[in-house]
């Protein structure tokens, strides 16, 4: 029997993030598809609603937020699906390491892969939608605080539906209502800034929601995954 040294929790988390990033690197669709969805969907709004810059600046933050939110929701499929199908999920659930942190590591890597590229492009698209310069910073700060919350909530929905053969629209029905507070405060920050009002209070609220999501959602994800592999 081998008696190899034990690893600390930190290295377990690092190894998990490394594996997920490696996987994203091997199948770049996981990175590119949410991003392309975001770009194309944002482009649809001026085409559908008119290119009048006054109209566009009114809806810019909403469009960026809603498309980001939808992109995150659609990207969730890649979070647990492959692991469920090849049996890795069972092994994960049988790991002696705390599942809470393993799941947080997975969601964190998903955020890095699926959300970070969108965040980087968001200011450019906001500018294309004629969002005034004063709104750009609160938009980015809001996305920075809000998208991890969206990933965590989405992971709950995905964990609940990963065992079902067709889960795409069901996932949307389950988690979009839960996304509303993030959307409301995220766009609220931009409106506040455009009205020359302070938005730090709202940012703090989004931070509080993120902390709450970090504390509670891994528990719900773990419970949901156990149901799904059952």
């Amino acid at each position: 029997m081998m008696n190899n040294p034990r690893m600390g929790l930190g290295s377990v988390i690092v190894a998990t993030v490394r594996r997920e990033l490696l996987l994203a690197f091997r199948s770049p669709g996981d990175v590119i598809n949410p991003l392309m969805f975001f770009i194309i969907a944002v482009t649809l709004f001026p085409l559908g609603g008119g290119a009048d810059s006054e109209f566009l600046s009114g809806i810019a933050s909403g469009v960026i937020w809603v498309t980001t939110l939808l992109a995150i929701m659609f990207s969730m499929e890649s979070l647990f699906r492959a692991d469920y199908e090849d049996g890795s999920l069972e092994q994960l659930l049988m790991s002696p390491q705390p599942l809470y942190f393993l799941l947080l590591a997975k969601v964190l890597s998903h955020w890095l892969v699926a959300c970070l590229p969108i965040l980087i492009l968001a200011p450019f698209f906001a500018a294309m939608l004629a969002l005034p310069a004063a709104g750009i910073l609160p938009l980015i700060l809001g996305l920075l605080a809000g998208t991890p919350t969206l990933c965590l909530l989405g992971a709950i929905g995905m964990a609940l539906t990963v065992g079902l053969s067709r889960s795409g629209l069901l996932l949307a029905v389950l988690i979009l209502p839960l996304y509303i507070p993030v959307l409301v405060f995220g766009t609220g920050m931009v409106s506040a800034a455009l009205g020359s009002l302070p938005y730090t209070g709202l940012l703090a609220l989004m931070g509080a929601m993120l902390v709450l999501a970090i504390c509670l959602s891994p528990l719900a994800i773990a419970a949901a995954l156990r149901i799904s592999v059952n």
Binding site: L160, I180, M209, S228
Partner: protein, 253 residues
């Protein structure tokens, strides 16, 4: 008391117990609802501001309250199921979802109908209407999730987790919508609580209707739960006996 409560955890005892209390509950409900509605519709003075239209409040307000109460109830029974694995708790939680959804839908519809003369439009993005609409979405999500599972147990557990996630989110959603509404809407909302101090002849019938609707809710809940018990316990002896008795009564055995 505790003993009585534990007995309700057994499907069979829940069934026979409700058999005993259901007629009483029905009579109470009919009397309360009948008196309350007639009183509220015809015997209370019209509101000085909204005229006869405020009579919608007699059903709208209890519906809106119950919509939320039903969600809380569903979540607590879900927790009971997850923690103690009480099967009846899940059956009650399952029964809550469609009833809660229909109550929420009626709360929305009556709210809109009230809004036409009051606000001049049947839908405004008022905080209460909006958050009720979102609650309807939550109910629909739970119903959809349960129907997506083949296995009863997996579906039950998944719905229980989702109900609990929803109950944590509900206050946040409510708060965010309230905040959003004050940002986007002028403060022109009228509601029952704004209409001065309500005299007793207004709130006594409201009290009757409220409890009548609660009674109706319990009846509907019990009926659905009993059906669920019959389905899940169909292989047990007592259900077979029940069905056999039913055959004798209807004389087609």
């Amino acid at each position: 008391m505790w003993q009585w409560f534990l007995q309700l955890g057994s499907p069979r005892l829940f069934y026979s117990m409700t058999d005993r209390y259901l007629p009483w509950l029905t009579w109470f409900t009919v009397i309360l609802l009948g008196t309350g509605l007639a009183w509220g519709l015809a015997f209370t003075p019209p509101d000085y501001q909204m005229g006869e239209n405020y009579r919608i409040a007699y059903i709208h307000v209890p519906m809106a309250t119950l919509a939320m109460g039903c969600y809380a109830m569903m979540a607590s029974f879900s927790a009971g199921y997850l923690i103690w694995k009480i099967k009846v708790a899940d059956m009650i939680a399952k029964a809550c979802a469609p009833i809660g959804a229909s109550i929420t839908a009626v709360a929305l519809a009556t709210g809109s109908l009230w809004g036409i003369p009051t606000w001049g439009t049947w839908w405004i993005w008022d905080a209460r209407l909006t958050s009720t609409l979102i609650m309807l979405f939550l109910y629909v999500g739970i119903i959809a999730l349960r129907s997506a599972f083949d296995s009863i147990d997996s579906g039950a557990r998944a719905c229980a987790v989702l109900s609990l996630v929803g109950v944590v989110n509900l206050p946040i959603i409510k708060y965010s919508v309230d905040w959003w509404n004050t940002l986007h809407q002028g403060a022109s909302n009228l509601s029952l609580s704004d209409t001065a101090a309500n005299p007793p002849e207004v709130w006594i019938p409201a009290f009757f209707v409220g409890f009548g609707i609660l009674g109706f809710f319990l009846i509907a809940l019990i009926l659905r739960t009993r059906n669920e018990i019959l389905i899940r316990e169909r292989r047990s002896q007592w259900v077979s006996d029940l069905v056999a008795n039913n055959m004798k009564e209807s004389g087609d055995a």
